[in-house]
């Protein structure tokens, strides 16, 4: 009995060793051979869809007929867009026989990580959701295509979007980074019913806002809440900075002459940080906000334990999930309060615009690149974007009409705020170099909340990240 089991163990071990050595030997062969080994292995086990996709793996054209397009989006099964994107893929494949789209759907955080790794290894997806700040880095390295020529060549497609939308995605050298996918607009959401009940006035200036905080606290309610654990400070950082220093200084800090002057008083960032600290010191956030996820913050707002919430238009969907349609009826929107004591600040600029788009990989064969551009255009079309907006998924950046009756009043106000804005500034993660954005939302602002950093130290952390980033650019 014992002998038999030992024999079995020996057999299993030898089989394992054989399998491992086969695979490792495969790794040592020429790439083509490996691809073939992999393909044949995959064909046996994967379903038809996967097998078709993987038979093309390794070459742009597997058999000369099949073209595989790798598409990365944030539309996972939890997203309201998931069904629409699957339908679009099916239709595209039907209209283009021989094209197989491999759709990799990841959460935004995961996709950002994956894009960073893919860029570092030079293996970008063919078509992908992409924030503007990432696209700015990718285009410098020649990893993605410039859309300016395509915009010029296709006036019909250009006409879908207002000029400010393309302006927001255009670099100083005229390159257009992305095809516009998603519009964003900020809102200082407040519980109108609660404000009326307590006789509070919606704050339009910073002084009014700061005067209101103790009144709300006296009523036993948290003035403002956010998902600290999820580092949801990118929008707030932009709002503080644009109110404190204005558009031009903001842009100069992010990609202009002042890229390494974040600690310089004249650029306004130290003032913005000081204002943020003033708000924190007044007790605007709840205790333990840094341990609170965005969903927990949504729940707190929906449970009417917090009076205000500052973020983008997509929050409407979250608020509905957390508090139901009746909660949405209690909400109204404000612009972030104007800082009247900051002469350079811009009181009318709204945080948002269009800084999420679709990128297309550079360097593919012309036929494949053409197909990728067509796919990207389909994803950015009104036919795809408007139904999603009507479902509350996102704000479409185009000028097309939509059925207002399908959206809540607060959502209509957000869309109206987008279209009526004088000017936009993206949220910090959409405009600042990624390292600087992370330094602000993961180190500086949280550090002030937890009191680990004072305003000066917080500014210094961001300055260091900016200097490191500038040094890395010089090294390139």
């Amino acid at each position: 009995m014992r002998k038999e089991s030992l024999k079995k163990l020996l057999a299993i071990s030898l089989t394992g060793a054989l399998t491992a050595s086969t695979l490792l030997t495969g790794c040592g062969n020429a790439p083509k051979e490996k691809a073939e080994t992999q393909d044949s292995e995959v064909q046996e086990s994967a379903d038809a869809e996967t097998a078709a996709a993987e038979s093309a793996a390794g070459d742009t054209k597997g058999s000369g007929e099949t073209i595989e397009i790798k598409l990365s989006t944030t539309w996972t099964q939890g997203s309201v867009v998931q069904e629409e994107i699957e339908n679009l893929i099916a239709k595209f494949e039907e209209e283009h026989p021989g094209v197989v789209i491999e759709h990799d759907a990841l959460s935004t955080a995961d996709l950002r990580t994956k894009l960073t790794v893919q860029a570092a290894s030079g293996d970008m997806p063919d078509v992908s959701w992409c924030p503007q700040s990432y696209a700015r880095e990718f285009i410098k390295d020649g990893l993605i295509i410039d859309w300016s020529g395509i915009v010029e060549e296709d006036p019909d497609w250009h006409a879908w979007f207002a000029d400010p939308v393309f302006d927001a995605l255009t670099e100083p050298d005229g390159k257009i980074l992305l095809a516009p996918l998603e519009a964003s607009i900020d809102g200082l959401y407040y519980n109108k019913a609660m404000f009326e009940e307590h006789g509070w006035t919606a704050p339009k200036t910073w002084d009014e806002f700061m005067t209101l905080i103790p009144k709300i606290k006296e009523a036993g309610i948290t003035p403002i809440v956010t998902g600290g654990k999820d580092s949801r400070f990118a929008w707030m950082a932009s709002a503080f900075l644009v109110r404190a220093t204005g558009l031009d200084n903001f842009k100069s800090l992010c990609y202009g002459e002042d890229m390494t002057n974040w600690n310089n008083e004249s650029t306004g960032f130290p003032t913005a940080v000081a204002k943020f600290k003033e708000m924190v010191d007044a007790g605007a956030f709840p205790n333990g906000v840094m341990g609170m996820s965005a969903t927990e913050a949504d729940q707190m707002f929906a449970n009417e334990e917090a009076a205000m919430y500052y973020e983008g238009a997509w929050k409407v969907g979250n608020f509905e999930s957390a508090g139901g349609a009746e909660f949405l009826e209690k909400l109204d929107r404000l612009d972030w309060p104007a800082m009247t004591d900051c002469p350079d600040g811009n009181p009318d600029t709204r945080v948002g615009g269009c800084f999420i788009g679709v990128m297309v990989k550079a360097g593919n064969e012309p036929e494949k690149e053409k197909l990728c551009i067509e796919l990207a255009k389909s994803i950015c079309s009104p036919d795809f974007g408007i139904p999603i907006m009507e479902k509350g998924g996102q704000v479409y950046p185009g000028v097309a009409e939509y059925d207002k009756s399908t959206c809540s009043e607060i959502m209509n106000k957000m869309i109206e705020a987008f279209h009526s804005a004088d000017s936009y500034i993206p949220s910090m993660d959409g405009i600042a170099p990624p390292a600087v954005d992370l330094a602000i939302k993961q180190t500086a602002f949280p550090g002030i909340i937890t009191k680990e950093l004072d305003a000066r130290q917080a500014v210094d952390e961001v300055q260091k990240a900016a200097e490191d980033y500038a040094a890395s650019l010089e090294a390139q």
């Binding site: 030992l6 163990l9 020996l10 071990s13 394992g16 060793a17 491992a20 695979l23 790794c27 790439p31 490996k34 691809a35 992999q38 292995e41 994967a46 379903d47 869809e49 996967t50 996709a53 993987e54 793996a57 390794g58 944030t74 539309w75 996972t76 099964q77 939890g78 997203s79 309201v80 491999e102 759709h103 990799d104 759907a105 990841l106 959460s107 935004t108 955080a109 995961d110 990580t113 994956k114 790794v117 570092a120 290894s121 030079g122 293996d123 997806p125 969903t295 949504d298 729940q299 929906a302 449970n303 997509w314 969907g317 979250n318 999930s321 957390a322 508090g323 139901g324 998924g393 996102q394």
Partner: protein, 275 residues
Amino acid sequence: MLGNKKQKVLIYLALTIAAVLVILPLMWLFFTSFKSRADLAKNTWGLPKIWEYSNYITAWTGSRIPTYMWNSVRATATAILLTVVLATPVSYVVSRFRFRGNKLLYLFFIAGMMIPIHSTVIPIYTMVGNMKLNNSLEVLGLVYGAFRIPISIFILEGFMSALPRELEECAVIDGCSTANIFFKIIVPLSKDGIVTISILTVLSSWNELLISMLLISTPSKKTLPNGLMGFITEYNSEYTQLAAGIMISIIPAVLFYAFAQEKIEKGMIAGAIKG
């Protein structure tokens, strides 16, 4: 006598608190999986007001959980195979053979424990991409296995060093070859250690997210943690369905533990003493 009784009460109290601390999150997850999103928002800690069985149906039908589970099994099985097949003979050599450089060889292998997985993601992604091996669960298992080898050698070396040398000497006198000593004496006596490294490999591979997210992009090839993350999006997180998905996904682990409880406990305890 009284002191013993008091001590017992304190021990039972501590164990009860520990049990509650372990069970409470699971109970919360269980109840959350039966709530609607609005119910979860307003009634985070209570029992579901209306039991939403549809979360399970949606999680099962809408997210390919069975496929994700099978994929995780494939990647994990490969990792176990690689770890056991490679770590066992290496541990035997470094623990039982005396030769120049033995210690250096051992240190070379266990130095791998000091390499954080995050520092290797770009080279791994580039290498796998260059070899056109993306979207292969077996390759994912190889990567998992490679990261488990150093700690496995560290654990098994401890087990094997503690085995009495006389056993080998008797076997040599009886004419046993080195291979036979390894397969017929060392491996059976190190069974608990092998079980321990297998369990640790299961635990780390089953829950791994970063590497699987990078190496696997085909939807039908995603592993369980990667697939379940699909319930969370920036704009619309389906936490109740995610809870249902997690409840479904822990069934194999619970069954695995139920059937292999004795071996797992024995292996872990033995590892703790000898390793």
